[in-house]
């Protein structure tokens, strides 16, 4: 038997938040090891809308500060592009988007309200259906697939290690501290553990008596064949999120999700798509009528976890005090540059240097009952029906 692996910090889960955390730690010279059950960034971290505009988050300013720098900092292209246009085909959505613009403006960023004609001028694929919208001179979008790999390679360039295809079975604690993680192939010892295991986080944290309430759902997106590039790729609305990629494909999601039960042993779960692809196609054809002839060539589904209030948990616990946990509650990709920075600060300095994170603490869920997800109907349909 080989001697156990050792690292100063082990990051459990190579999704986008864990990768960014490991990258920030490696930048600070910390000996960091990322352990993932499969390939890094393989799940929802690498398959999502790619949006980088989260005005609701405590990390918003840091998100906006970092994205324009990321290609250079990482050394690999993320395909980040600044700005977003969000436009409506109904008065209801138009009103909501205008209020979103006001909210972004309240944070000190520039935005414009657009009428239908202005939308058509700025979005060549828009048509008569466009009633108006907003143009945010902030935020933007990036390529999730390329970004997760960029993080991973940047970690390795800085001397960090990544262990793929290695499921973590449980965390190991002794004397009120976490001492390592047990994987399918052996023990990894460490001084600090960061758990960013997405849907698996609740199960893994339970192995050291920490309760992180998350429910897991499947969400879906569609992608079309490439089209000539619009001046702004970050265009969505009409109940959809998404973008035109730099390759020219339209990649959009939205609409209903399905809550699922994770197998208790962490066994892999399929990620089927559903007929939702057709309803996404309908809304995309309504939003961008001049693209209605374009062919859909793929759809995909990802598994995403949500906390009871849909807000992140980013917290260094008091017990075990060398355990830092993070779930972004279904809104993780765009915020990831800032999330990693926050996690690095918590691990190294014990507190976040650039924003308040008190409202993202885990103990806000102390009073949440065990069957909270069932109360909300956030459970698999088969379970609900059998009850």
């Amino acid at each position: 038997m080989d001697a156990p692996l050792r690292a100063s910090v082990v990051v459990v889960g190579g999704g986008v938040s864990g990768l960014s955390a490991a990258w920030w730690l490696a930048r600070s010279g910390v000996d960091v090891l990322v352990v993932d059950k499969g390939i890094v960034g393989w799940e929802a971290s690498g398959r999502n809308g790619g949006g980088c505009t989260h005005y609701n988050s405590a990390l918003f300013h840091e998100e906006q500060r970092l994205w324009p720098l990321m290609d250079e900092l990482l050394g690999y292209p993320t395909e980040y592009r600044r700005e977003r246009i969000i436009f409506a085909t109904t008065e209801y959505h138009l009103n909501a988007y205008l209020r979103m613009g006001e909210e972004v403006g309240r944070h000190g960023y520039d935005w414009e309200a657009l009428d239908g004609d202005e939308v058509r001028r700025r979005v060549p694929l828009a048509g008569d259906s466009a009633l108006g919208g907003i143009h945010l001179k902030v935020g933007g979008h990036a390529n999730p697939q390329r970004t997760v790999q960029a993080y991973a390679w940047a970690i390795q360039d800085l001397g960090g290690r990544i262990l793929q295809h290695t499921p973590v079975v449980r965390l190991v604690a002794r004397g009120g501290k976490v001492t390592g993680v047990e994987t399918a192939t052996g023990l990894i010892e460490c001084d600090h553990v960061v758990v960013t295991a997405g849907p698996q986080s609740g199960r893994l944290l339970a192995t050291v008596g920490v309760r992180l309430p998350v429910a897991v759902a499947r969400a879906e997106m569609i992608v079309t064949e490439p089209l000539p590039l619009m001046p702004h790729g970050g265009v969505d609305g009409n109940g959809l999120y998404g973008r035109q990629t730099l390759r020219g494909n339209l990649a959009y999601g939205g609409g209903p999700h399905e809550w699922i039960d994770l197998p208790p042993d962490g066994a892999p779960l399929s990620r089927p798509t559903s007929p939702l692809a057709a309803h996404l196609a309908r809304r995309l054809a309504e939003l961008l009528p001049k693209a209605a002839h374009v062919r859909v060539i793929r759809s995909w589904a990802g598994l995403i976890e949500n906390t009871p209030d849909g807000r992140p948990v980013i917290d260094r616990l008091s017990s075990p005090e060398n355990l830092t946990i993070c779930t972004m509650s279904a809104v993780g990709f765009g915020l990831s540059p800032a999330t990693g920075h926050a996690i690095r600060d918590l691990v190294v300095d014990g507190r976040c240097s650039f924003t308040d994170l008190d409202k993202y603490r885990l103990d806000r869920f102390d009073g949440v009952p065990d069957d909270w997800a069932a109360d909300k109907g956030w459970v698999a349909a088969a379970r609900a029906a059998a009850a």
Partner: protein, 542 residues
Amino acid sequence: MDDGAGHIPAQDPRSQVGKFAPPRERFDVVVIGAGPAGLAAALEAARAGLSVKLVDENPVAPGLVGLDVPLLYGGRADASIGAPQRMLEQMLATNPDLAEAFELGVDVALRTAAWSVFVEGDALHALPGPVVGLADETAAWLCGFDQLIVASGARDLVYSFDGADQPGVVGAVALTALIERYEAFDGRSLVVLGSDDLALTAAECALARGLAVAALVEVAPAPLGDPFRIAELSERGVRMIAGSVVRSAVRGAFGVAGAVVAAVEGDRPDETIACDTICLAVGRVPVVDLLDAAGVRVVLDGARGGFVPDSLDRVSTSLPSIFVAGDCAGVGRRLATLEEAAAHGRRAAAAVLAARGLTLPDGDAASTVPPPRPDGHDQLPHRRRWMEALLSTGGTDVLVCPCEEVTRAELVAVQPPRYLGAAIPENRCRTLSAMAGEGTPSHDQMKRLTRVTMGPCQGRRCREQVAMVMAIGAGVPVSGIPLAGYRAPVRPLPLAVLATLPETAASEEQWDVWFGIPTQWVPYDAIGTPREQELIEFTMHM
């Protein structure tokens, strides 16, 4: 969940549960593919009194022929494919059993594509029963079934070489379909790559229609196929050039104008053979796109020509409601005869009847027909030998994925796509062999990083070739490259067509851009303040 007071909390109103419309139509059995296996399966099920729908995408619309859907037509279909009625008549005329299907009351839907199969699974409970997504040129809809028989056949194994991106490089399966089924082949003179049953059959088919076949080119030192047939072809003027591959195709005003044939070993000089078509006839690949996307377990089996449904009896699959028949269950070196394919179809129908607790009208005869037996010959080493010879003669500056313009070299060097402009500097470059040290080389991962296999052809033109180049580049067997996953829709479908799928009022009313959790979007500074409730109400429904 019961809270003890008899109260069952409702499902999250924003979830998919209860949102999908019931299927537009329903049948006991739906058969995908009206080739000999699918047709025989449909007839057998109909004779047993079941309601049956038989779906076939052929004859496909001209735009799809141009996209090489579902076969590698290679720009050599003539203008007559623009006349749908003629194409349909051709299809009926060359397939007399279709008339019997109509007579037996089978709902025959030609020119109708199956773009996805949706069945309940551990992460999908929201369906209105098992359904297959169908589409014609104007509409998409769902069709319910108890049992589905997939008889989607086999498609061409595609290799590229310099000049293969112009019209005139045609797959053998596509060639025979264009010649025999549609009488719509727009070429006159061929060079055929391969020397086994597939290549010999393609050459014989072309000669029978009065076309010129200049040569068969085979990478192995000697031809593989039946010596008697090869001698016959030779008597008719077809040369057999062994130990050779095509280095490149000569570029001409109307596409391929010749094949440059290069010896794999030795110093024999290149020879340019005039032709307007290079026919790829090295191998065929079972079409498992619909099956894989539906969640049927597939395994790589070289003796069956690639990834095939994991099945002991060759008709059932890992999903109890889905059955297979014909070439999609596996292809050997020898083409199946019509009678063998039909027998396989009848076996699939018998398995469906057994699953329904029924027996065949004439006893259990069909089920006693033994399953078609592959000859046990692993086809993968010979395919890899072709790939290695194409690499050694043609070099690495050849497109491996024409849709996304990725060369062999760019794939092996894991270069970002060309639209990003600058390549990653060499000292920061990951190669396939370096990445292989971190775990199994993954075709799906290469899709993300290089965009290989991500184009509008949905991988039909490059999938196997990419896996082979990856295996060679990473120094692993082809069997070490997992299947790159197929995704619905497995046929390219216009937004406007897919959009016609009926949507329920509940889906419209509850649609939300994301999870519909109102507290999720409250700005951080407003959490816990009097503004919070106002903002929650505002974001109740986006």
